[in-house]
Symmetry: none
Subunit: 232 residues, 2 copies
DNA sequence: TTAAATTTCTCACAGCTTTCTCACAGGCTG
DNA sequence: CAGCCTGTGAGAAAGCTGTGAGAAATTTAA
């Protein structure tokens, strides 16, 4: 067993290499998912709690570079590119697109594992700074770990979208979040730019958390820009 | 010029490679220091503000592995190992000791630069708080991250255009900005050259931030040229 | 499986804010 | 004084937000 407890997504269409990698990961005690297509990778990332992605650039449906760009629109998970392409420019392009490391085939299990450990170390170092899971503003608080919202001492029921929205604000207390950013974070990047649904969602949320929704105390509107959770 | 403004320490005893690396870094606009020994590396790290270290493992005085371990006792700066040793175990050992990446000689400038960018990206993401986002002149201050303006200790409401204008001045404190430049920055290049809207916008902004708009304290008019935010 | 309940999205509209335009006043310069 | 530039107030036009009602979609329960 290793020190990390991570879910790793293997995106590789060559069955032999996929087996080699998954065998190696299993031997080290990692949990993993596999897929052979770009589309499958995106699906897995959405449905499962993935901590790190091993990505082959040569996929049958889309180019791996597009996958990197797509994922980076909404996620910061470590992406380790595994590719047969050995051109420096390819490497630089992938790394600049947002990949965290680049391994050229053939590679050894030892090196792969070491580089995975580095990537996970980075991730945990980053997350350890934001270990706090309970945030409070005035009477309102949120427990990100338990996924619960409290108003005073009372638990407050929230729908999934309402919770997602509120959590986003608590992760950015005091900052003005633009409507475009909020929509991307709550609905995902494929949703578009229509703000109507956000307005409706915000109305519902305010009805629950604000005493007087027309004159909010917690989430302020910044006209023409977005919204902001006040910082005391 | 690159997007980062980092000091890089090159630890390499082979003069040719050292020159190659420093030449590459200079071409990309990085500042750098060089040393050929482990002892020198530690000295430089203590005396200079180093943001990233390029480390050759084969040093004359101590083994590079010891340098990594030593540095990691007190610093989290990215360490990029550059080595001729191509053994997987060597790589794994260096990475597990705390290095962030491992490049095998010979390597290309392109790849080196891309990997440096990845390392710096990680670092900046981690202490993104350390980037200055609050600027102050007299009683007036702006928080670019939160998108908020303060006058004294009071929050000041600004419209999107007013904020955009004020932020532009704070990014250019003390400099005279021509009306043409301001219009292009605030309204975009497609707007034209009509200054009427800018005059109206400026009047509104001054009404909010100046005690006496007719005799401004913060944003001065430079007749025939443009405007300027005073520098204390 | 179907049915009920909940959640989410869409529409239409009222009310408000922001932005632009116009007209004019005042100051500086030659 | 005339010409140019800047500042300002008023008002129109455009744009943005909040909200209720109901439709559509999703989840939960039976």
């Amino acid at each position: 067993m290793n020190q990390f407890n991570a879910n790793i997504l293997i995106v590789e269409d060559d069955v032999q290499i996929r087996n080699f990698i998954s065998y190696t990961l299993k031997a080290e005690g990692f949990k993993y998912f596999t897929t052979g297509t770009a589309q499958g990778a995106l699906n897995q990332l959405i449905t499962n709690q993935i901590d790190l992605m091993l990505l082959d650039l040569g996929l049958p449906d889309f180019d791996g570079m597009d996958v990197i760009a797509k994922v980076r629109e909404w996620s910061d998970i470590p992406i380790l590119v595994v590719s047969a392409r050995d051109q420096d420019k390819e490497k630089a392009a992938a790394l600049d697109a947002g990949a965290d490391d680049y391994l050229t085939k053939p590679f050894s299990a030892t090196e792969l594992m070491a580089r995975i450990r580095v990537a996970l170390r980075h991730m945990y170092k980053q997350n350890s700074a934001s270990l706090q899971t309970v945030f409070t503003v005035g009477e309102l608080s949120i427990d990100l770990e338990k996924r619960l919202v409290y108003l005073g001492s009372c638990e407050l029921h929230t729908t999934p979208l309402e919770y997602s929205l509120l959590a986003l604000f608590f992760k950015n207390i005091g900052k003005v979040l633009t409507t475009g950013y909020i929509i991307k974070q709550v609905w995902g990047s494929g949703y578009g730019t229509d703000t109507q649904a956000l307005r409706a969602l915000m109305a519902g949320l305010r009805r629950k958390i604000e005493e007087n929704p027309a004159n909010p105390r917690y989430i302020m509107t910044e006209i023409g820009v977005g919204y902001r959770l006040v910082d005391e």
